[in-house]
Point group: C2
Chain length 441, copies 2
Amino acid sequence: MTDLSNLAQDRDLEGLKQWLSDKGAFDIAGELTRIDLEDRAVVFRLLSKDRALAVFEALDPVHQQELMASLRESNVRELLEEMDPDDRARLLDEMPAVVAKRLLEGLSPDERKLTSILLGYPENSTGRIMSPEYIRLRASMTVEDALTTVRRSGPKAETIYTLPVTDDELCLTGVVSLRDLVLADPEELVGNIMTREVYSARADEDQERPARLMQETGLLALPVTDTERRLVGVLTIDDAMEVLEAEDTEDILRGGGSEPLGRPYLSASTLYLARTRATWLLILILTATLTVNVLQYFEDALEAAVTLSLFIPLLMGMGGNVGSQSATIVVRAMAVGEVRPADFAKVVLRELRVGVLLGLMVGLLAFIPVVFLFGMGIGQVISLSLVSICTIAALSGSILPLLAKRVGVDPAVVSAPIITTLVDATGLLIYFLIAKAVLGL
Amino acid sequence: MTDLSNLAQDRDLEGLKQWLSDKGAFDIAGELTRIDLEDRAVVFRLLSKDRALAVFEALDPVHQQELMASLRESNVRELLEEMDPDDRARLLDEMPAVVAKRLLEGLSPDERKLTSILLGYPENSTGRIMSPEYIRLRASMTVEDALTTVRRSGPKAETIYTLPVTDDELCLTGVVSLRDLVLADPEELVGNIMTREVYSARADEDQERPARLMQETGLLALPVTDTERRLVGVLTIDDAMEVLEAEDTEDILRGGGSEPLGRPYLSASTLYLARTRATWLLILILTATLTVNVLQYFEDALEAAVTLSLFIPLLMGMGGNVGSQSATIVVRAMAVGEVRPADFAKVVLRELRVGVLLGLMVGLLAFIPVVFLFGMGIGQVISLSLVSICTIAALSGSILPLLAKRVGVDPAVVSAPIITTLVDATGLLIYFLIAKAVLGL
């Protein structure tokens, strides 16, 4: 780990070259982000041109920017020119507009055009991350012709494993894989070996659907078309995987009550980290004042039986946990496509049953010890409250994310913390209503 | 949606054929799981042999089993024989041992042997999901020879895009991609165009590391070797993506306080769903009794100032939310490899600062309204408690998952709910200690 850091600080060029020689681009990139900013350029400049590009492409846009700041203008221009258009678009996208514009102007006309096409699509759309450099075949070509086309245009294209087939109007009519071409008779027509039921993406649609589709189907690349089914690019699996990692991270962090960081954890400042978390905390503390109001309303009951207050955290905790379980399970099942809008009634019914079952379980479990320690009355109140709170928690935990999805909001936004806080207030209300009824306060 | 269901119930064979004709295998599989069990075989039998296999492979093992139960023995045997060995191994793995044994015996000797090899590796190891049907090249071959080998052995292999190169002892010496072969001069030697710094996986290692590596590097296949670096298989990207989806789902559900379901949500029974959640709830309710003890200990303070109890849910909620944010962020950063064991001190320091900052924010925010409504004393107690609780929550939320990782436990196990419950008890203790000191109770 500290190897590289020491070598770089000592400016031990021989040692550095030795260290670099047997590492993969991805490993080098990983270590590079862990050493001092000023040492990174020293190490980076020792790499051959090809490997430097591979290492650069393996870095996160945040780290790419940091590194670019300490490289010479000419090196930067060269790196940008050689990058894949979609990776380049992503990097430029994250830079200040003035810098991005200047860098874009430094590119060759061809590369500039490719990048501008991608940057023209809306944010988070498939068009932004597709590769505009693809190889297009025609159904009337022979396999041999097709292979010749692949050999001629291959070096520029991002993938040559999935080859879209189009008609004269550039409309997508099928797909053939390099595998099928290589294994087929050279005289065969492409039209006879291509697949006609083709999954494709629309350039203006959100990235998540095509990415999930690729994960489910195991396809290595997906043709991307415009609104008139004309081919405009190809989405490759590596970009789809990045989308999924980002989407899953977003869901996970929202589920934990925080906004996505948008940059690697270790390169985010304390203030930046606090900011991604503050919004949710503020919403939550405002919602939580509801609990103060509910308790205030029952202050006389609390004065009459202080024992009741002993169980507040336990009951709130249980409600929060069951609600958070339901919300998490339902949000995830929707994210991976197991649950669809049409399944809503089924899901809510299921969670209702699970909530009652879990409530009965913990309610029965708590009954004997509570009766033994605090008497029959409190025992009844606690057990009844546990059953009701678990049921309501499971219901809210499933209904709220489903409703969010219906109205077009990311279900992960109605996350565990939000549900916990809402269930807290409702749970207190139920608790004290039951207490008043059972204990006659 | 209900189209297929209606067609199947009416046994409208022509309508069904029409419906099936323009759908992809993945879509058909998705709809199949949503219609009645007895109708599925009716629809399935209408598919041509190739498409039936594709649809079958697109199903989850749970749904594969359900479908197999309603197919004829000979159809089942045929399907199994044609499946990829790794998919077959996964399916057999989930069946009762007696059934799996019988089905395994029905396979041809070749396919049986391939499957047995995979089933011989430990659960969750890379060996279980690799493909044992790969194409192996030698460095001394010409590109032309290599392409001939690919054409000869290609139809059987799961992937022909990544071709491992080995020496005479079968040891991995490099990798060449089909892309490079197709684009290279036919006279060139494989040894001259292959990549020597090869990422690979060990058959006995856990699946997650190679899968994450493939996600980070964008590699389509990874050679798998035994402990002596001899090639035994190839891990393909589609299987790696399935591993990652399962790992992320596991982390997400654990983060929500539930165990992974291990089967699609809609095909799990209520009892089964309750069981995956009950264990954590029981652990949590036992931990939550700590809060009852703490409150009991301060019962006299509570009697003296009932107002204190009004803020219990709010303070617990805040602590829980901050702790859950920290735990979620840290667990995710470790899962995707952004944070490594060597970064522990940095992470804890960072979370400490974030916790103090967030605590000061909510503490200051709460001060004025609380002083206004409940007086100076309570205002001071609440604000001081918020700062302390947020700090402790951020610390526990980061330290506990890091410690879990150190001792080799899945960090996601020390999840938000566990931390919330622990912070609840500690928070109450702090709250009442501050209250006693400030209010002189």
